[in-house]
């Protein structure tokens, strides 16, 4: 290392400076030269809410240029409306379009806005449903839903603990593999759900699919690092490796349930849950298997009951928060991010379990591994059909 520190600093900064100069050149002197093609404006309607005698649409400028929103319509019929804070929307800026309208519950509506060049953008709603009033009742209701889909099923799943504990080594491996199957399914499920949100609620400018991929990988890497740290610490503490794995699973499932809670809360708030009872029954059944996933790695160690309850809460309680946040202010972006974090976390947990199994069993039985993973996937599929 002969080069001095200033030289090192310059070599680090120089490319950045050059890049800034290039961007300044492209945006400044070269901008007219680079103007080819037609720049098309784009406006996305992100959210439509039905309140008393009024329809409210949240619109966002998702195009490359600033726009003015100059007209609103309901079912392609021009309606006078208010727009707050004002008609001009810079890139990414949002505004609230408030259309006084005596709407009918359960009827489909299409809400449109027209910008100053005469282009109209619209979004349809399958059935108008009164927006929920943010009050204590709704808070309790959403909390109850989160509790029912998150905490209760996981606690029920944890009750399998004494049964799994009595099993022989091969059967135990089967159950660990079963857990892997459950988790792989859950991870894929989360990615699909995130893609659906990206498709239905997120404008294309966010590159939803790429955002999912980015967050899944980042979350996987982050938890991989945290997991490594955790196993390091375990060497010095009395914590068992089984407990560490269970904790990792619980955290991963916790993120997943946060995303799921956001989605369910939003579905309730947007009135998209026509068969909410069925949906909740489905989620509850589905999530019982999550309890099993947490319980399985614990069986080789002496786990105290309160620790298990603690793990169950780590995994389940985020669903309650998810329901609250999703129900009171739905953000498709955050829901997508949390679902993707959950997916990444879950894939990392699958890897941890696999490594744990390889360490603990001298000869890893292929039969119990394959049988377990397959059974896990099938059980998850079957419980998902109920939703």
């Amino acid at each position: 290392m002969t080069s001095s520190k200033p030289v090192l600093a310059i070599s680090a900064i120089a490319p950045i400076v050059l890049l800034i100069i290039m961007i300044a050149f492209l945006l400044g002197p070269a901008s007219s030269f680079l103007q080819f093609g037609v720049v098309l404006p784009e406006v996305s309607i992100e959210k439509i809410e039905f309140i008393e005698n009024e329809i409210q649409a949240t619109v966002r400028n998702t195009g490359p240029i600033d726009v003015d929103v100059v007209l609103a319509d309901v079912n392609d019929r021009i309606q006078p409306a208010a727009i707050e804070p004002d008609i001009s929307l810079k890139r990414f800026e949002t505004a609230l379009v408030r259309i006084p309208f005596d709407w009918n519950e359960g009827q489909p509506y299409e809400i449109g806005v027209t910008i100053s060049d005469g282009t109209r953008f619209a979004k349809g709603i399958d059935a108008a449903f009164p927006a929920l009033e943010p009050n204590v009742d709704l808070f309790v209701f959403l909390g109850m839903i989160g509790f029912l889909i998150g905490v209760v099923p996981i606690m029920i799943g944890l009750l399998w603990y004494p049964f799994i504990k009595k099993l022989g080594k091969n059967t135990f491996n089967f159950f660990l593999a079963f857990t892997m199957g459950l988790l792989v399914f859950l991870g894929i499920d989360a990615v699909i759900e995130a893609s659906e949100i990206s498709e239905n609620h997120l404008s294309s400018i966010f590159n939803g699919e790429l955002l999912i991929a980015t967050v899944v990988i980042l979350s996987f890497l982050a938890l991989y690092g945290i997991g490594k740290q955790l196993t390091k610490k375990i060497e010095f503490s009395k914590l068992s490796q089984g407990l560490a794995i269970s904790l990792m699973i619980a955290i991963g499932i916790g993120f997943h349930n946060l995303g799921e809670g956001l989605a369910v809360g939003a579905a309730i708030a947007l009135g998209e849950v026509a068969l909410s009872t069925f949906l909740i029954v489905g989620f509850a059944t589905h999530n019982t298997t999550e309890g099993l996933a947490i319980a399985a790695p614990l069986t080789k160690s002496k786990a105290k009951i309160f620790k298990m309850i603690g793990l169950g809460l780590i995994a389940g309680v985020p669903a309650i928060f998810g329901c609250w946040v999703g129900g009171f202010s739905f953000s498709p972006l955050f829901t997508l991010i949390f679902l993707a974090i959950g997916a990444g976390a879950i894939f990392q947990v699958v890897l941890s379990i696999f490594q744990y199994m390889k360490e603990k069993s001298d000869i890893l039985s292929n039969t119990s591994l394959f049988a377990g993973v397959s059974a896990g996937l099938i059980v998850m599929y079957l419980t998902s059909v109920i939703i």
Binding site: L71, R77, I83, P85, E93, T94, G118, A222, G225, K232
Partner: protein, 355 residues
């Protein structure tokens, strides 16, 4: 050990980057201003209170749009008049086509209109039966255009097979016949595009024996497909949506009213006209002296014209609009404000002044 700690730091940095970059998407959505709400009366009569802006097809800033429907409805171009040796009256008109103008077709909505004499619709050409009509046409547009007049004329004056290129000129000449309410428009392919952009106007041939004196108006029923999806975004009588609804046309009770109604709407096969509070006698294409009906509804296909004659018995505010409510709720809704008849007939057309 050192490397593990560093790698952990890296993960925190990564998570930090993710958190900060996600804020980038969210922050512009935060609304800062908190003012006291202002109250607006909208075109449907609804009252809106808001701290923001009102979006409604009424111009709240009070500035006139690029086109004045009040002026257009009573403006007739009689041409430059010369009496020829044989006693024939020659009327010369000058029409220039352009296709580069941007017009505010509804408050806040700017659209590339193609115009005759900088106006959509073009000027209302008016002559008397038997007059020699000479139209000096100049194309200042970037595309070929033409003038196709309905009526009786020679094939080479039909403006269909000879389109006039950029900078080109052409003189159309024909005798004004038959009596009636006709139409002219650009007939260059694709005609739908040239009409949707605004290249059309009304053409009236008065009978030699003048019609009964009346308060006269021209209503060209048109529309604009501003986003090019093959459906009209706006409908109107005389271009500006909702204009006559919040600028009612003042007329007198018990006075003859004559409306020249031309339907040049594209994309929709049928347009219609419904008058409130009274009924009208109507003359299809204005070619007959006997009305073909007494009604308050007219159904008109593309290019159809009707002359309506009516009067109001009672003063008050009366609507006239498309009974197709889609059209009326997208702008084709107007109103007459009928006042007590003061016996002052200023507004009547004085035929003696024309020649």
């Amino acid at each position: 050990m050192q490397s593990t700690i560093q790698s952990t730091k890296m993960f925190y940095i990564l998570i930090g980057i993710v958190a900060v970059s996600s804020l980038y998407f969210v922050v512009p959505g935060v609304i800062v201003a908190e003012e006291s709400p202002r109250t607006f009366l909208t075109h449907t009569g609804l009252v809106i209170q808001t701290t923001g802006d009102v979006i409604d097809p009424i111009g709240y800033d009070g500035e006139a749009l690029d086109f004045d429907p009040d002026k257009f409805m009573k403006e007739f171009d009689y041409g430059e008049v010369t009496v020829l040796d044989d006693g024939t009256i020659l009327r010369e008109y000058y029409i220039t086509a352009r296709d580069d103008q941007i017009m505010e077709v509804s408050p806040g909505v700017f659209y590339n209109v193609w115009t005759f004499n900088d106006s959509v619709p073009g000027p209302t050409i008016r002559a008397t039966e038997g007059d020699l009509v000479r139209i000096h046409f100049t194309n200042e547009g970037s595309k070929p255009h033409s003038l196709h007049f309905h009526g009786i004329h020679k094939a080479e004056m039909d403006g269909v097979f000879e389109s006039i290129g950029t900078g080109g000129q052409f003189t159309y000449e024909f005798y004004a016949e038959p009596v009636g309410l006709h139409l002219y428009h650009c007939h260059v392919h694709p005609v739908e595009e040239h009409i949707n952009h605004g290249l059309y106007g009304a053409y009236i041939v008065d009978p030699k024996e003048p019609r009964e004196p009346a308060d006269e108006f021209v209503f060209v029923l048109n529309g604009f497909d501003t986003d090019f999806d093959g459906e009209n975004n706006f409908y109107a009588a005389n271009t500006i949506p909702f204009y006559y609804q919040h600028h009612p046309i003042e007329i007198n009770a018990n006075q003859n009213i004559r409306a020249y109604v031309v339907n040049i709407l594209e994309f929709d096969a049928v347009n219609n006209f419904h008058l409130h509070g009274t009924l009208f006698h109507h003359y299809p294409a204005g070619t007959d002296t006997v009305p073909s009906g007494y009604n308050d509804m007219l159904t008109m296909s593309q290019g159809d014209r009707q002359i309506l004659e009516f009067n109001y018995k009672y003063p008050g505010l009366y609507m006239f609009h498309a009974h197709n409510t889609e059209f009326s709720e997208k702008g084709w809704v107007s109103s007459f404000l009928v006042k007590e008849n003061t016996g002052n007939f200023d507004t009547q057309v004085e035929y003696d002044d024309i020649i």
